[in-house]
């Protein structure tokens, strides 16, 4: 049998909890979808990431719009499936997830709460706005070490363990760390 990832237990449970005692609505469907986390960075929800763009409800039917972070990011498939599972658990059926490419996702959409969670998790959040990385004059802001807070850090590799991260090292505490790239 072809089997997909089961939604993470806590997510599905949260979705079910959220469903109890509240009617179906756009806000409710959004809240349920917003419990889904990024499988690669489990502290971030798709709402924190800015990947969750909209939720619509029509009777029992829910339509959720997501935007992919990076074109080839394999985590997107998992997030899409988890959204369907969470909404199914909350009583929505059928659930449709639309992937839209435009407007293109940017780290500017990451919430402040998401950035704080990332730092706590040991990943330096995006430093500055995407506009600074475009055009002729580009400004690379210092990336703060999530462990000791030093701004004396160095990019080791622009490409890291996932599409969204670069590898850095801290010149003060000497620890390597991931940086969520500005895009």
């Amino acid at each position: 049998m072809v089997t997909l990832r089961q939604a993470q237990g806590p997510d599905a449970a949260q979705g079910a909890d959220a469903a109890r005692g509240s009617g179906r609505s756009r806000e409710h469907a959004w809240a349920v979808a917003a419990t889904v986390t990024d499988p690669e960075v489990p502290v971030l929800t798709i709402e924190d990431l800015g990947v969750l763009r909209s939720a619509e409800v029509d009777g029992d039917r829910a339509t959720v719009t997501l935007t992919p972070t990076y074109s080839g990011c394999p985590a997107m498939d998992a997030m899409r499936d988890d959204v369907i599972l969470a909404l199914n658990a909350a009583g929505y059926s059928p659930v449709e997830v639309r992937m839209v490419l435009s407007p293109a996702w940017t780290t500017d959409w990451m919430t402040d709460a998401g950035k704080r969670k990332l730092t706590k998790y040991g990943i330096a959040p995006p430093s500055g706005r995407a506009a600074l990385q475009q055009g002729i004059i580009r400004l690379q802001l210092a990336v703060k070490c999530p462990r000791c807070g030093s701004l004396r850090t160095r990019e080791v590799s622009r490409f890291g363990s996932t599409s969204c991260k670069a590898l850095f090292e801290c010149l003060d505490c000497l620890e390597p760390f991931d940086h969520f790239k500005v895009i």
């Binding site: 049998m1 072809v2 089997t3 997909l4 990832r5 089961q6 939604a7 992919p68 990076y70 074109s71 080839g72 990011c73 394999p74 997107m76 899409r80 499936d81 369907i84 599972l85 059928p94 659930v95 449709e96 997830v97 639309r98 992937m99 839209v100 490419l101 435009s102 407007p103 293109a104 996702w105 080791v156 590799s157 622009r158 490409f159 890291g160 363990s161 599409s163 590898l167 895009i183």
Partner: protein, 273 residues
């Protein structure tokens, strides 16, 4: 038999369409689909070739970099092939795995073998510089799906291009050995540059939808001139390949690339994991 993953099956999930452009319901015209194959096949073949470096790159960071770039390109290919398939009901997998060589529309530059690291970088420099100009212009397409894919892809080929430029400078300005290899690599891939900017009859039928390739040449040349000046490299004055990828006539290496890419899907129909 109990399933460790639970009771969830694909059927129950009613999977949504794979990544699509601006409008999930948009269907491509026959001509727009053909154009999407040009772009999608370039991205797909380049992704497949770059994947060949995984576990073989000169250093670990570069292994990760080339793998990441390949993954981005594969994402572009998925969006473009999905859209191409909407014209006649084929899926992105049908198009990737079940077309034979003459049905591909990739250009010869992306079909050039990986060679040594310098040759891969030379190919990347040309391909990424071309794609950057292409997607910049394609954002203005009257076709909403192509425009959306271009907007998304541009952000990524931007840093692919930067990666190739950094390595071109480093190899050309490095040791005698790295410099001689970089010069040889440029000599090897340069004959395949012209094909990228050749207008085919298809383009005449896609006014406002497709980008006319010849209009990108000026911007491409300006970027390459800046990089080559910095790297003290010269544009080779050798022969120019006739190309022919857009018409299904391919460089000999494409068959080997497809053989490896398609063997599993063809030998084990419907295989999943």
């Amino acid at each position: 038999m109990s399933d460790p993953h639970g009771e969830v099956t694909v059927d129950e999930l009613r999977l949504a369409d794979e990544l699509t452009g601006a409008d999930a319901a948009a269907a491509a015209s026959v001509d727009a689909a053909e154009y999407a194959l040009w772009l999608g096949d370039d991205a797909l073949i380049l992704a497949q070739q770059l994947g060949g470096w995984i576990a073989r790159a000169p250093e670990l960071e570069e292994d990760v970099a080339l793998g990441n770039i390949a993954l981005d390109l594969l994402g572009h290919a998925r969006s473009l092939l999905h859209y191409a398939g909407t014209a006649d009901g084929r899926s992105e997998d049908d198009l990737a795995y079940f077309r034979d060589e003459p049905e591909f529309r990739s250009a010869w530059i992306v079909e050039q073998p990986n060679g040594d690291f310098a040759q891969t970088i030379a190919r990347q420099l040309i391909a990424a510089t071309y794609m950057f100009e292409l997607y910049s212009a394609l954002r203005d397409s009257s076709d909403a799906t192509l425009s959306a894919i271009a907007e998304k892809s541009l952000k990524e080929v931007d840093y692919h291009r930067d990666h190739a430029i950094q390595w071109t400078l480093r190899l050309a300005g490095g040791t005698d050995e790295s410099r001689s290899r970089m010069i040889r690599a440029i000599d090897d891939v340069w004959p395949y540059v012209d094909e990228l900017f050749r207008d085919e009859p298809l383009i005449d039928r896609l006014e406002g939808v497709a980008v006319r390739p010849s209009t990108l040449r000026g911007a491409f040349d300006r970027v390459i001139a800046v990089v080559f000046a910095e790297a003290e490299l010269e544009i080779p004055d050798g022969f120019t390949s006739s190309g022919g990828g857009r018409r299904g006539i391919h460089f000999s290496n494409l068959g080997f690339v497809l053989g490896e890419m398609q063997v599993l899907a063809r030998q084990h129909r419907g295989a999943t994991w």
